[in-house]
């Protein structure tokens, strides 16, 4: 692990421990300056990133956890059948402003269907969804136009909200930068790599400044750095009062979410943290 990787991991550890964003930035900048000027292996100078982050937390404390706000998404009794196969049975999820909810479960258990129902793209056989505020949705794949540039996607999405071209372009590029991507190039969407295309997809979903953000495994093809940036971005959006629902099968990230909806059609879910909401009672 070189100094950059160490710093990136250290930053993620600070975010995970809920160190206030400004304080975390300051600490990371100090560590980077120290390494640049003094040289040396960060593992020797500071030790493992998680240990150093723990020491920092002990020293400066953490930011108070954001207090969950009003309910932004309430899905109740969602049932969906395809023919004789029931994919969702009485699934219920409540997400408040300032919360991240994870939807987990085995392949084919209806995670994406649940999200599409919440987005209003698919009708359930039973149940209802209440959304407070504006809705943003990022599909697992697709959702972009092959022969348009990233900037043109931003203009297209921006026009839906009545945003002029210049501001839409700037907002899109700024959101893309949060994911470590400079989006202003002249490359068509079809020529972007899978991961970069997903960054475009994700950027489009946040561009309309939604109050509720639905993300269907949006990190497909992300490299490690982008993946860390993605979760940092989610933490920032949560701290800004957004309600976020993210479909995931990566269980090691569940400590970064506030509530979990398990759609696995078995009663056993003992591994899940408190806050689990069952989809298959």
């Amino acid at each position: 692990m070189n100094a950059d990787d160490w710093l990136r991991t250290f930053t993620a550890e600070l975010h995970q421990r809920r160190v206030a964003a400004d304080a975390a930035r300051h600490v990371v900048a100090e560590a980077a300056t120290h390494l640049r000027e003094g040289g040396g292996d960060p593992w020797v100078v500071f030790g493992p990133p998680h240990q150093y982050a723990a020491a920092i937390v002990e020293s400066i404390g953490t930011a108070p956890g954001p207090r969950p706000g009003p309910v932004r998404l309430h899905a109740r009794g969602i049932t969906k059948r395809y023919g004789r196969r029931t994919v969702l049975s009485d699934a219920t999820l409540t997400v408040r402003a300032g919360q991240i909810a994870a939807v987990v479960g085995a392949n084919g258990c209806g995670k994406s269907t649940f999200l599409r129902i919440c987005a209003g793209l698919v009708s359930p056989d039973a149940g209802e969804v209440t959304i407070s505020g504006r809705l943003g949705y990022c599909p697992q794949s697709g959702g972009t136009a092959d022969f348009l540039l990233a900037d043109e996607h931003f203009v297209l999405v921006g026009a839906g909200q009545g945003v002029a071209r210049g501001p839409a372009r700037r907002a899109g590029r700024a959101a893309a930068r949060q994911l470590g991507w400079e989006a202003g190039g002249d490359m068509l969407a079809r020529h972007l790599s899978g991961g970069t295309r997903q960054k475009l997809n994700l950027t489009m979903s946040t561009l309309s400044n939604p109050d509720v953000l639905l993300l269907d495994e949006p990190y497909q093809g992300f490299d490690q750095g982008t993946y860390v940036n993605f979760w940092d971005q989610l933490a920032r959006l949560r701290d800004a009062g957004k309600a976020i629902v993210v479909v995931t099968h990566l269980l090691n990230q569940l400590d970064r979410v506030d509530t979990v909806l398990d759609l696995t059609p078995t009663p056993q879910s003992g591994w899940l943290a408190p806050g689990v909401q069952g989809g298959h009672p």
Binding site: G120, P124, E128, I131, L135, L148, Q161, S208
Partner: protein, 230 residues
Amino acid sequence: MNRLLTVAEMTLRELLRRRGVLLLLLLMPLTFYLIRRDAYLGQSVRSLLLGVGWAVSTAALFATTAARELEPRLRLAGYRPHHLYLGRMLGLWTVGLVISVPFFLLPLVDGAELRYAGLAAAMLCSVGVAAPFGMLIGALLPRELEGTLLLLTVVTVQMLIDPAGSGAKLTPFWSSREIATWAVDHTDEGYLSRGALHGLAVTTLLVLGVAAVASVRLRRRRHLRHLPVG
């Protein structure tokens, strides 16, 4: 209005970047024209019009299929269904009119003695019908192969059916054929008025069809209740 024009502009940009498709769009009517050039000129011009109609329908079909995944998220981003389908249609009509220009000039260069106002009206009908026709097929049949085969069937029927028979009036491009007859054979005004009326009626019906399908597909679902931010 801005939303509608933005969708039209993006449709245009997408199509203009598909150089291979554009080339084929131009090649198709040209081939139709040249293949009948040795025979009677009227047949050649009518084939040209059918080629233009087919080319624009195919472009509309592919543009509609390509936008299938994007449209629901644009709907969430603040677009209404009519912004999406009318914007796309506007873009396709523009492309259709642009590619019609060289084919309007082709018989002129070829020295054909035609009523050129009639040829222009026939081209207009052909493009006017083709864009919503291709879009409707694209909206009803989600897979490109099925859509292309259906288009092929309709155009083949259009080519082979007896234009004087009553069944011919049910084919979408009958209007341009009728007006072309007026333009090429210098027949009476009845051909022009019948053709224009047919073109107008078919275009209106197809636009309404596209509107109906898009409004159903992109409707606000009943299970979803939106509340303002409290």
